[in-house]
């Protein structure tokens, strides 16, 4: 696991919806083991970018290579092989409401492995314990708090030991303490399991804690306006808007 080799390569990527270009000609790499943050103002297309990277949307142009396989063109078993390498945490969690947490985590294992039933139980519980939810394993998603739900989604996303975890707005709707706990979990998983994280957020405090590298999207130019470490961008970016973003300054105060 070399940190300097890219695991995701986005090349000349263009996203469009109904003929309107949202993101134009983006290229960037995500390296193995890093926590990579996609940052930007509301409506700049960060979540759209993420949904393209996990193969939910078809880009208008460009390629998205995950471990040297293009998720845009891959079909059938090759696509399945790519999907097994990634795990996704959606903004709203997307736990299956009719299943307990344990069953949620069991699901990918049941579908993709030939492991015996009790082994699957064991592995699923282990994943839940890593995120601190061992005791709540038999509860339904409705019966636990928002922060626990987010951790449960991470446990499910980790079920098949993916190489990359995609998180869409992980701290949305969480209080600062719960949000900080989630950040600590992300850092710990990244360090101890060498999982690569791609995180979409605009939560400044958590960016400083978790991010190894940041790209910033700006909806006015529909492209990347800055790339680097968060502290570096805050203090030394040449782009005024980027400095403004990191320093939480408002434009056009009435």
């Amino acid at each position: 696991m070399e940190r300097s080799t890219p695991i995701i390569r986005v090349k000349h990527f263009t996203a469009a919806y109904d003929g309107v270009v949202l993101l134009n000609d983006l290229s960037f790499d995500v390296y193995r083991g890093e926590v990579f943050v996609i940052l930007g103002g509301s409506g700049c297309g960060k979540s759209t970018m993420l949904k393209h990277m996990i193969g939910l949307y078809q880009p208008a142009a460009g390629a998205i290579l995950i471990d040297n396989e293009d998720i845009v063109t891959a079909q059938g078993p090759r696509r399945l092989a790519i999907l097994k390498k990634i795990g996704v945490m959606y903004q709203q969690g997307a736990l299956f409401g009719s299943m307990t947490l344990l069953e949620n985590v069991r699901l990918p294992l049941e579908e993709y492995t030939d492991l015996p039933n009790d082994a699957i139980d064991h592995i699923a519980l282990m994943k839940l314990q890593v995120v601190g939810l061992g005791a709540a394993a038999l509860k339904l998603p409705d019966e636990i708090s928002g922060g626990m739900r987010k951790r449960a989604v991470i446990a499910r996303a980790m079920a098949l030991d993916p190489q990359v975890l995609f998180l869409d707005e992980p701290s949305a709707g969480l209080d600062p303490i719960t949000s900080a706990e989630l950040d600590r979990l992300i850092v710990s998983l990244s360090r101890n399991l060498s999982i690569t994280f791609v995180v979409v957020t605009h939560e400044l405090p958590s960016i400083y804690t978790i991010a190894d590298r940041v790209i910033m999207l700006d909806k006015r130019v529909k492209a990347i306006v800055a790339e680097g470490k968060p502290q570096q961008l805050r203090d030394h970016s040449e782009n005024a808007w980027v400095r403004q973003f990191f320093n939480r300054e408002a434009t056009a105060v009435a």
């Binding site: 996990i54 193969g55 996704v88 959606y90 969690g93 997307a94 736990l95 699901l107 009435a254």
Partner: protein, 396 residues
């Protein structure tokens, strides 16, 4: 000039009288006077969202009639002013500046002045007009395109579902049987009481309705033929399909729609699990297994309903039974069952499709459920029509 001033006064006095009569002392009072330097409007009392309406028209009317070079608002006796009051003061200013007059607000309390300034500073952007709906012809065209897109999607979905069902038949292990059982219970077993009741009543009603005209021809006995043929061939399967569309088609759409809205469908896709295989196939299997059974019950209870009427008309039960046996063939029964199998597939599939097509937002799931029922009923009728033609040309 003089006449104009008099008429302005008249308007204002009238406004004041009306106001005083309506709300007593708490509302705002408006007084207008012309001086050398223009029109002076004195507003006293409270200008809030509840009371501003009383002086809005009179104030604008006074300004319109006087058309002064200088408009002065004397606000020294204004006791309260909120957003509505500020809107009036700003609107007066806007109209005044529209024909290049001077405008001044005197003695406005600093607290209210800040409010008025805040609103006057904000940029005067107006909402962008919505794109027009287009001409009638354009709307018809759009509707046509939408309809065509729907047909294309339906066709694609039928293809996808067929592949998924074929795969499930080759490898039954990939079907989520637990979910299929559960759906079979919800859509089938739980629907039994209502289907039985409606089937029984339908048979009863038809028997009663037909007994009178048939009696005129002395053909009472043929009530049995009518009930037997119509229940087994047509009404049993149709009744079942309609109940299924209302109870389960809508439920499938709402269930899958909620999953779509909460990104659960996306989650399945990125896990590499096809939503069609994972969610639609178990539901279709359950519906296909349950509909013929329910249809049999509906027909059977319809026959029982007919029997009750025949007994009450004085025919022995055995006579009714023999008459039934002579009228109804096994082919009628099989034809009805074949129909109900197709109805089951159609209703379950369209319910799931509408669920998967759910857009985002709170009303989207409700829309999908409605669309599932409506499309279900339309397709049931179309399929029934096709069967009618088919049976006729096959001589069944």
């Amino acid at each position: 000039m003089l006449r104009r001033i008099i008429s302005t006064r008249a308007v204002c006095e009238c406004a004041m009288n009306r106001e005083a009569g309506q709300t007593g002392e708490r509302g705002p009072l408006l007084a207008a006077s012309m001086s050398d330097c223009g029109l002076v409007l004195t507003i006293s009392g409270s200008l809030d969202s509840r009371t501003t309406g009383q002086v809005w028209q009179p104030a604008l009317e006074a300004l319109r009639l006087a058309q002064p070079r200088q408009l002065t608002i004397d606000a020294s006796r204004l006791t309260y002013c909120d957003g509505a009051g500020a809107a009036l003061l700003l609107e007066l200013g806007r109209r005044q500046s529209a024909h290049r007059g001077q405008y001044e607000i005197c003695s406005l309390d600093p607290a209210f002045r800040a409010l008025v300034d805040l609103y006057s500073r904000s940029s005067g952007e107006s909402p962008q007009p919505k794109a027009s709906q287009g001409s009638f012809l354009e709307q018809v065209g759009r509707f046509g395109v939408l309809l065509w897109n729907d047909v294309t999607k339906l066709t694609a979905f039928v293809g996808e579902l067929s592949v998924a069902l074929a795969r499930a038949a080759l490898r039954p292990r990939i079907v989520r049987w637990k979910e299929a059982w559960l759906t079979a219970e919800l859509a089938g077993v739980n629907a039994l009481p209502i289907i039985a009741l409606l089937g029984f009543l339908l048979g009863l009603i038809m028997a009663f309705q037909s007994a009178i005209p048939l009696h005129q021809f002395g053909a009472d006995m043929f009530v049995a033929n009518l009930i037997g043929l119509s229940m087994l061939r047509e009404l049993g399967p149709l009744l079942t399909a309609i109940i299924l569309a209302g109870r389960s088609g809508s439920a499938f759409a709402a269930e899958l729609g909620t999953m779509k809205v909460s990104e659960e469908i996306d989650a399945l896709t990125t896990m590499g699990l096809e939503p069609v295989t994972f969610l639609v196939v178990p539901r279709v299997i359950a519906a296909v297994a349950m509909t013929p059974l329910l249809s049999v019950f509906a027909s059977l209870l319809g026959l029982v309903g007919g029997a009750v009427v025949m007994l009450s008309l004085g025919f022995p039960f055995v006579t009714y039974l023999i008459q039934l046996q002579s009228a109804v063939t096994a082919g009628d029964m099989v034809g009805g069952l074949a129909k109900s199998v197709v109805f089951g597939i159609v209703v379950a599939a369209i319910g799931c499709l509408r669920g998967l097509q759910t857009k985002s937002g709170a009303s989207a799931v409700g829309d999908s459920a409605t669309r599932a029922v409506v499309s279900g009923l339309v397709l049931i009728t179309v399929v029934d029509g096709i069967f009618a033609v088919l049976f006729y040309s096959l001589g069944l």
